[in-house]
Symmetry: none
Subunit: 188 residues, 4 copies
Amino acid sequence: MGKGEKTKKIIIETAQKLFAEKGYAAVTMKDICEVCGLSRGGLYRHFSSTTSIFIAILENDIEINSEIVSDAIKAGTPAIRILDGYFSEEKAALFREDNGFYFAVHEFAFHVPEQRSYFEQRVSAAVNLVSMILKYGMKTGEFRVLDVDDVAYHILSFWDGLKTSSPMLTITEEFVDRQIHLIKELII
Amino acid sequence: MGKGEKTKKIIIETAQKLFAEKGYAAVTMKDICEVCGLSRGGLYRHFSSTTSIFIAILENDIEINSEIVSDAIKAGTPAIRILDGYFSEEKAALFREDNGFYFAVHEFAFHVPEQRSYFEQRVSAAVNLVSMILKYGMKTGEFRVLDVDDVAYHILSFWDGLKTSSPMLTITEEFVDRQIHLIKELII
Amino acid sequence: MGKGEKTKKIIIETAQKLFAEKGYAAVTMKDICEVCGLSRGGLYRHFSSTTSIFIAILENDIEINSEIVSDAIKAGTPAIRILDGYFSEEKAALFREDNGFYFAVHEFAFHVPEQRSYFEQRVSAAVNLVSMILKYGMKTGEFRVLDVDDVAYHILSFWDGLKTSSPMLTITEEFVDRQIHLIKELII
Amino acid sequence: MGKGEKTKKIIIETAQKLFAEKGYAAVTMKDICEVCGLSRGGLYRHFSSTTSIFIAILENDIEINSEIVSDAIKAGTPAIRILDGYFSEEKAALFREDNGFYFAVHEFAFHVPEQRSYFEQRVSAAVNLVSMILKYGMKTGEFRVLDVDDVAYHILSFWDGLKTSSPMLTITEEFVDRQIHLIKELII
DNA sequence: AATGAATGAGCCTTCATTCAT
DNA sequence: TATGAATGAAGGCTCATTCAT
C-alpha cells in the first residue's frame, strides 16, 4: 500500500469516528484535518469535501453480514440461532461508542439527496438479509409469518427507529432484550 | 395579539416549513430572514438563534392527540376505531409535504444535546398515547398483548423508523397499509 | 444618497486607484477592503467580486469627451483647436498617476472575455470621437484625409499603444509632443 | 542536448502557448505542470516560478527579424519590399493563435517591474528595426519622412496598440490591409 | 418594531514550495 | 531527474451578531 493509500485509509477511519460523534452536517474539513493530524492542503490532496469523505466511508463500510447469514444457512444452523445472532449484533451496535454513525448516515441521506442511493442500498440490503433469514425459518418450520417481505420491513423499520434515536435517548440492555423477545413472538 | 406576537407567529410557522425542507443543521438565520421577508435586525428582535426558533416551534407544535384519544375513550369509542384513527394520522404525516420536519426534530436532538428534553418528551408522550389506547383495548377485550409498554414502544419505534426515513425513500400508500395491518395482527 | 450608496461610491473610487496601480489581475477583494477601510463582510455586502467592482468602475467612468467635442463643433470652434484639445487630454492622461488604469482595462478585457463589450464600447466610442473631429475638419477644409474611419482608427491605435505601454516605459513630454505633431501632419 | 535540457525546452515551448492563451497573471505553476505533463517537483527542478519561466521564454523568443532585414539591405532589396515583408509578418502575428502572447508580455512588464528591461529591449529593438528600414528607404530615395525615429516610434506604437487589443477585438484582414496602406502613404 | 450597513470570526479552497523517496 | 505527499499561507466567501437610524 503506497503512502497515499495509507493516508486515505487513516482519513476514512478517523473521519468515521468524528461523524459518529458529531453527525454529518456539523463536521467541517477543518475538523477532519485536526483529528487526522493533517494540514489543509494535505487533506485536500485526497478529498475535496466532507461529502466525498463520507461517501468513501460508506463504500468502505459495506456490511458483510449477508455472507455470514448465507454461510450459516448453508451450514444448516437453526433459523432461530441465526436470527438471534443478527439481533445481538444490532443490539451491540446500539451500545457501541460509534453508535451515532447510524444517525449520521440518515443525516447524509437527508442533506445530500443526490447520494441517496447509498442509503437506499443499505436499507434494501438490510431488508433482504432479514427476509433471507425469515424465508429460511419458514422452510425449516421454525417461523410462521404471513408476508415475509412485510415482516422483514417491519423489523427493519423498528430497528431503524431504535438506532436512529439511541444517541439521544437512554436505552437499557434489558429494554432491548424485551423488544427482541417481542419480535421473536411475532414470527414464531 | 400585538404586532410583535404576530411577527413571532409568522416566524415560527414559516421557519417550520423551512426546517422541514432543509433539516435542522442546514438552516441559517439568514435563510429564515429571507423566507419570512424580515431583515436581519427584525428577526433578531424576536429570536437570537436558529436553536431558539426551533425550540419555539417545538413548543408550538405540541400534539393534541392525547386529548382526542382520551375524549374518544370517555365516549366509549371502540379501541380499534381509536387505534385506526391514530394510525391514519401517522400515515397522513408520512405523505404530507412537511414530512421532513420529523427528521429535523431528530437532527435537533442530536446536535443540541442540552435540549434533548423536548425529544424525550415527544417520545414519551407518544409512547403514553399508544399505551393508553392499548390499555383501553385490553379492558374492552379487543386487544391482547403481553406487555403494554413494550408493545407501545415497539409500535412507536417502528413508526419512528418509518417517519425518519420517509423523506429519503419512496414509500407507497399500499405499503403503509400493509404495515398497519401487520401491527394490528400483532395486538389482536 | 443613502449610506449604502455612499459606501459604494467610495469603493468604486478607491478601487479604481488600486487597479490603476496594480492592474486588474493582481487586485484581491482583501486589497480592496484594506484601501477602503472596510471589513470583508462590509465589502461583500456591496460587491461580490473584483470583476463586479471593475464593471461598476467602467460604468462609472464613461467619458464625456463626446459632448465636449460636439459642443465645440456646434460653437464653430476650429477643428484644429478641437483636435489639439483632444490630444492634450490624451497627453495629460499619459502622465497622470492613474496612468495604469488604461492598462487594467485591457487586462480586464483579456481575462474576463464575457465582459468584453465594455472594452469594445470604449474602443468604438473613441474611434467615433476622432472620426467626428476629422469629418468636421474636412468640412471646414482644415483637414485632408483619404478615409476618415481608417485614419481615426489609426490614430486611436497609436494612442492605445502609447497608453498601454506608458506605465512600463519612460516617456517624455517632448517625445509626446513630437508624436502629436507627426499625426497632425498626417491629416493636414 | 541532455535530458534536462530537453525537458527545459518542452517547458518553455509549452508554457508559452499557455501564457498566450491565459495571459501572464493567470498562469500558475500548477497549470504549467499540467500542460507539460510534469509533476510539481519535476517542474521545480528546472524553474522556481512562473516569472523565471516567462523570462526564459522571452530569452528564447528573441526576434531574428533584424538579421533578415539587414541581409535584405545588404542584398539591395528595395526598401518598400522590405517594409512590406515586415508588415506582412506583423499582420500574420495578429491572426496567429498565439496572438495573446504579445499581450502577456505587456502584462509581465506591468506586473514585474524589476524585469521591465526585457520589455524595453523588445520595444527598442523593434523601433530600431523600423528605423533601419526607413533610413535605408530614405537613402534609396523611396521614402520621405521628416524624423526617422519619430516615425519609427509612431509606426511601432500603432502596431503595438493593434496587437495588444487584437485578442479582445474582432479584426479583419481587409481592415489591417487598409491600415498598412495608410502607413505606407505616410512615408512615401 | 424594523431596516440594512458593518464587523469579525471561521470555514473553504487553491497554490507556491519543500522534501522524502 | 522525477514523483507525489505534505505544509502553510493567502484569499474567497458566508454568517452570526451588533448597531445606528
